[in-house]
């Protein structure tokens, strides 16, 4: 099996060369790695490479086939780019070109919406305030925009990265 994988924005080609029990031979852009890899707990892999012991944690991302991967000090965002993922990604980009959504990176509660549909806002204006864990964050527009749609109301509980306000 060979796949394209995107790690922190960089694309690499990964291929499985052989597998025996938990011993894998994998090539990344042509470089061959012999690793002993076992899932020891849900989402946690113990990896032995050149007799060095690594603990790697895989946290599924918000989108399917994406992961956040934590090694001891580093955290990586990884996308598996199989055929389906590539297709969906292409479609999503088309959608995003037409619509820009304001969202919060963390879950929380909508405290205040400062705009109405149809409002013209200037660069730097705050459009929505979200509170999480006793801290309020203001979300601003980066350019002059028109409010196209408001998808939430004040008091709503929201997820991270959920589109809240569509601007144009």
């Amino acid at each position: 099996m060979a796949l394209e994988i995107n790690i922190d924005g960089q694309s690499v080609n990964v291929e499985l060369l052989s597998k025996k029990d938990n011993r894998y031979q994998v090539s990344i852009d042509g470089k061959v790695y012999d690793v002993d890899l076992v899932m020891v707990e849900k989402g946690v892999y113990s990896v032995l490479y050149k007799n060095k012991s690594y603990n790697v944690e895989l946290v599924p991302g918000r989108e399917p086939k994406t992961y956040t991967i934590d090694t001891l000090y580093n955290s990586y965002d990884v996308d598996i780019l199989d055929a389906e993922a590539k297709y969906l990604k292409g479609r999503k980009q088309d959608y995003l070109e037409d619509n820009l959504a304001i969202s919060s990176p963390m879950p929380g509660k909508v405290v205040k919406i400062l705009v109405k549909i149809g409002d013209k806002v200037n660069a730097g204006d705050t459009v929505i305030i979200v509170s999480a864990m006793k801290m309020e964050s203001e979300y601003k527009v980066k350019n002059d925009r028109i409010i196209k749609d408001i998808l939430v109301k004040e008091g709503d509980t929201i997820d991270g990265n959920q589109p809240l306000i569509i601007i144009e």
């Binding site: 796949l3 990964v14 849900k42 990896v47 598996i80 864990m133 801290m135």
Partner: protein
Amino acid sequence: MIRKVLVANRGEIAVRVMRTCREMGIISVAVYSDADRTSLHVRYADEAHYIGPSPSNESYLVIDKIIAAAKKSKADAIHPGYGFLSENAAFSERCKKEGIIFIGPSADSISTMGDKISARKTISKAGVPVVPGTKEPLSGEEEAKKVIKKIGLPVMIKASAGGGGKGMRLVKNEKDIVSSYRAARSEAKAAFGNDAVYVEKYIASPHHIEFQILADMHGNTIHLFERECSVQRRHQKVIEETPSPLMTPKVRQEMGKHAVAAAKACGYYGAGTIEFIVDDKLNYYFLEMNTRLQVEHPITERVVGIDLVREQINIANGLKLTYKQKDLSQNGHAIECRIYAEDPDNNFMPSPGVIQHITEPLGFGVRHDGYVYEGFKIPIYYDPLISKLIVWGKTRDEAIARMKRALHSYKITGVKTSIKFLEKIMNCPDFIEGNYNTHFIEKNKSFLEEKDICKGDCKAIAIIAAFIDYHNRIEKAQQNISTGNTSSSWKLSSRKKSMFKI
């Protein structure tokens, strides 16, 4: 004697209080909001009472609901923890009226110490040093010169009506007094429509050092030494340690005496904390008093060997303190790190969510006060504190090494945490040398924010893990499909027949 305690709090502190209750054979009662049904304090308690919707002003902060839960559960005492209603004089008063013991100080002590101006007055009367300055506006340039000479430079001239840094002038040299005074006045006038200004001693490199005190209802007050709390971010404590690397035995003894005097000045009973602001030369001034248990109380417990919650309960029972000042000493060194659900790579943005996986550090000299477990969803409504990691060592160096080891094995996934940031602090030369004040994080910003570059093959290992995980999942999915095909309806019917035979 208290036999049943309602803990009017949530999170790690509720669990911590209940642990001592259990040791003392006291029944514990939890209260919980919608968001906290599965919270550990509810599971740990002997009883739990629902008190309403998730926002704390509709549950944990509603005095009537807490009192109703206490009555219903027939609890004879309420422990308020920290935050929420712990420093609410009306709540202490209400408990008294309802015949429920409030495990904390009297309403009087809370209100005297809760107001900064009345606290300052009470404290100065008791001979405890306060930050030198005038609280009254300066009458003119001549008075300004006179007063500033008396206080000693540097000073800060501040607008009486002010806030937010407007109308403030730092004066370092005598020749700048008059011009700074004028500038502060005109700025204050422009900003607040009021040109009254006063002057206060400026402490250039402030340390935040606090003293733990315990007082019974019979006039006995003792202190349990200091805690150094200068590692702060946005006025929020991040790391605390005891003893303070700055302290000398002489100053400690003096400050301890003043802490006891401060508590006595407001007729205090219970556990409390006197906060001081201290400069590099160990001049110290009263800052405020916290009339409750502090978040960082475990480091004192560890070094002095006294369970502060047990003492609080004994005091509330009207018992005399069993310790005298001369019985107490500091044994070794303790450090606490606060683990917050926040993203250090993204301006410490709060990071609520579901705990996917947690491995807590164990081993000699490590204490872990927390409340989350795998699958628990950290609510968006409350403080982002996940847990506190407390380590002890014979020496400060040993304690730092132990904290590094504990942080290294502390793994939480699903939410972002401050663990990495805390590890950075433990490796920061200024911290290791004990050479820091409240500007520590700002001063060491570049060191603390620098990303560790993995020297080995971390990136390749991450790619391989993701690739194999995906590969194995696909393989498993295909196997499921193929096994699905083999169970034909012929086989199924024959299986059914054999079932009938049985």
